[in-house]
């Protein structure tokens, strides 16, 4: 596999798009919520968990996925869904709770479901892991060449569903790739306070599947490892696990005071901004100029602005629609 110019430029565009989307949502989220924080107020009600800082993981993995490859995600799902190729308008509208949104405004930012890209997520920590294994079982039973991917955090790797899922996936040799995004904290709990092993790649060994650790801030490293894992699953060689070490640039949720961080910790990690790392690599190769990087940024700003306009101008669902398309 050669790491070609166009491939890596697409990776860069995707990462810039995710960052631009997240930072703009972060701005809009605070509209009308302050000075006394009112979580229900403003155009984006409810909690907000943004993906800034971890973009290289979503982009590097999803670069190898087809629209029909199922992906399950977490309470921090925007990056995964954007990397999977969602319609940005429908996604932004859903975050705004609008009728034109992916779930007609009933899901919000943590419950984004998109049949077009075979994507689902939810706020239950680790909840998506067995879903991905179920999807992989269906793929195998149907003799298809699709691959399921589950993104989750290192905190989710301590719940029962992770262990049950990885075990069954290994026993049945299912086409699923587990991507542990180790951003060092489960909400505010550091990994060493909650986890008996230092690396979740070690847990792959415990279940007899290949597992690797990659630098989650380096998109090319993620891309390369993900290619091997996904190709392997597509060939019918079974599940594997990728542990990507990464970092949240905006804390667990919007409004997180981050009192649990060490001094200089965040500024040290910001030196490993995935946009800067990939940008520098591309410039080193002569594949990206400063002007081209600015043009990419401008394009992504325009795309996010268009999605914002669409979301703001879309209607809310009517109260009488509240029970439509629901099942329980």
């Amino acid at each position: 596999m050669a790491l070609e110019k166009e491939t890596l430029l697409n990776l860069y565009r995707n990462i810039v798009l995710i960052r631009t989307f997240e930072e703009r949502v972060g701005e809009m989220y605070y509209e009308d919520k302050l000075p006394a924080f009112d979580i229900a107020a403003g155009p984006i009600p409810g909690e907000m968990h943004l993906y800034s800082g971890q973009e290289a993981v979503a982009a590097g993995v999803c670069a190898h996925l087809r629209p029909d490859d199922p992906v399950t995600s977490t309470h921090r799902p925007h990056g995964h869904l954007i990397a999977k190729g969602v319609d940005l308008n429908a996604m932004m509208a859903e975050i705004f709770g609008k009728k034109t949104g992916l779930c007609q405004g009933k899901g919000g930012h943590m419950h984004l479901f998109d049949p077009a890209t075979h994507f689902g997520c939810g706020g239950i920590v680790g909840g998506g892991i067995p879903h991905a294994v179920g999807a992989a079982l269906a793929i195998k039973k149907r003799h298809e060449d699709r691959v399921a991917v589950s993104f989750f955090g290192e905190g989710a790797a301590n719940i029962g569903a992770f262990h049950e899922s990885i075990n069954l996936a290994a026993v049945w040799k299912l086409p699923v790739v587990f991507v542990v995004e180790d951003n060092l904290y489960a909400i505010s709990v550091p990994k060493e306070a909650s986890t008996s092993v230092r690396s979740n790649a070690e847990r792959g060994a415990a279940y007899g599947i290949p597992a690797v650790q990659v630098d989650g801030q380096n998109a090319v490293a993620v891309y390369e490892a993900a290619k091997e894992a996904i190709d392997r699953a597509r060939r019918g060689e079974g599940p594997s696990l990728i542990e990507a070490i990464c970092y949240r640039f905006r804390g667990h949720f919007e409004g997180d005071a981050e009192g649990y961080l060490g001094a200089d910790e965040k500024s040290t990690w910001k030196e490993k901004d995935p946009i800067n790392i990939l940008g520098a690599q591309l410039k080193e190769q002569g594949w990206l100029t400063d002007a081209e990087a600015e043009a990419i940024q401008a394009e992504m700003t325009r795309r996010v602005a268009a999605a914002e306009t669409f979301a703001r101008e879309s209607p809310y669902p009517a109260p009488e629609e509240a029970l439509e398309n629901l099942f329980a």
């Binding site: 060493e192 008996s196 070690e202 290949p210 690797v212 490293a221 390369e224």
Partner: protein
């Protein structure tokens, strides 16, 4: 004589992409803690009075010390952590400065390369914590601890019998020494460091070996399996790979035994050098992609005798045994 020993354990080793692209094993950190514990017990049995250890994000040395119940203090170096190879280099330099008599390393080729940049003349006991390594050896931690103790204490005859001076492959860019490898330098036809490892035989172009080694995994095996290879240990090798050459079967990664086409090869004596002409490519040092090279750069590799001092565990223990180190007085 020193009654102090250093321990440098790399928490990141044993998890790279070779678990996906080949059949490497994951080497878990709990086992590294167990190994350090056995090293500490080995050191304790022979009267070492202090251990300096590199701190790390996983707390390997700290946890090992808590479990080992040894009679000496295990002092973690007071150093800032970058969570990269720089930590190992820095720790080695601090240990050398502090006057340790030996440094025990846990990691792979990359870990030892980082340590070699800082350890100066302090001998190393390199314990392999992975399946991909050519420089460190698979050795029981207890034995490594005992050997480190007899080396550190300069038991007469032990250093003469149990320490060898390793070679280095010095890498020069436009005439300036920029880095070195302990085992091999490979020009890999890729532009990015990415996930680090090398495994695609079609991208392996130039291979420079400090030692051709039929007994190891990786690029050094390629040279080791060639007829008339300089296996007598006196020279390194320079190989150019490409279509139409001599086809050689070699284990380039765990479980990955593949044919490579070697167009030409020659011995490389200490002091000799050659020029890498494959550009753009990435130089892999000891199996890890490290340095992207461009067509306008002149890259030379020279075999030197400036590597670290390395302890042969068996030879050191044998020499110590001859000196009666392990004989204890009878109880009355």
């Amino acid at each position: 004589m020193s009654r102090s020993v250093g321990i440098i354990a790399n928490p990141a080793s044993g998890k790279d992409i070779r678990r996906l692209v080949a059949h490497g094993s994951v080497f878990d950190n709990n086992e590294k803690i167990n190994i350090i514990r056995r090293v500490l017990l080995g050191l304790d049995a022979l009267g070492i009075e202090q251990v300096l250890a590199m701190p790390d994000i996983s707390g390997l040395a700290r946890q090992a010390a808590e479990k080992a119940n040894v009679s000496f203090p295990v002092a973690l170096l007071d150093m800032p952590l970058k969570n990269s190879a720089v930590d190992s280099t820095w720790a080695a330099a601090m240990m050398a400065e502090a006057g340790v008599g030996c440094i025990v390393t846990l990691g792979g080729d990359g870990t030892n390369r980082a340590v070699a940049k800082g350890c100066g003349y302090v001998p190393l006991v390199p314990i392999s914590t992975g399946t991909n390594n050519a420089f460190p050896v698979m050795v029981e931690g207890t034995l490594a601890g005992l050997a480190a103790a007899v080396v550190a204490q300069r038991i007469p005859g032990v250093r003469e019998a149990g320490i060898r001076l390793a070679r280095r492959l010095d890498v020069y860019r436009n005439g300036e020494l920029i880095d070195f490898a302990l085992v091999d330098v490979v020009a890999y036809a890729e532009r990015f460091v990415a996930s680090g490892a090398i495994w695609d035989p079609h991208k392996i172009r130039t291979v420079v070996l400090a030692h051709p080694r039929p007994g190891t995994i990786g690029a050094s095996a390629i040279g080791g399996y060639l007829p008339q290879a300089a296996v007598n240990g006196k020279a390194g090798m320079w190989l150019e790979l490409g279509d139409g050459g001599k086809r050689v079967l070699a284990p380039i990664a765990p479980g990955l035994i593949t044919e490579l086409s070697v167009k030409s090869y020659r011995t490389l004596k200490v002091g000799e050098q050659g020029v890498i002409t494959i550009a753009p490519s990435v130089l892999a040092l000891d199996g890890e992609r490290e340095i992207p090279i461009k067509p306008d750069q002149r890259i030379e590799v020279r075999l030197s005798q400036n590597g670290p001092h390395v302890v042969d565990v068996t030879a050191a223990l044998q020499a110590a045994g001859q000196k009666g180190v392990f004989i204890r007085a009878n109880h009355i």
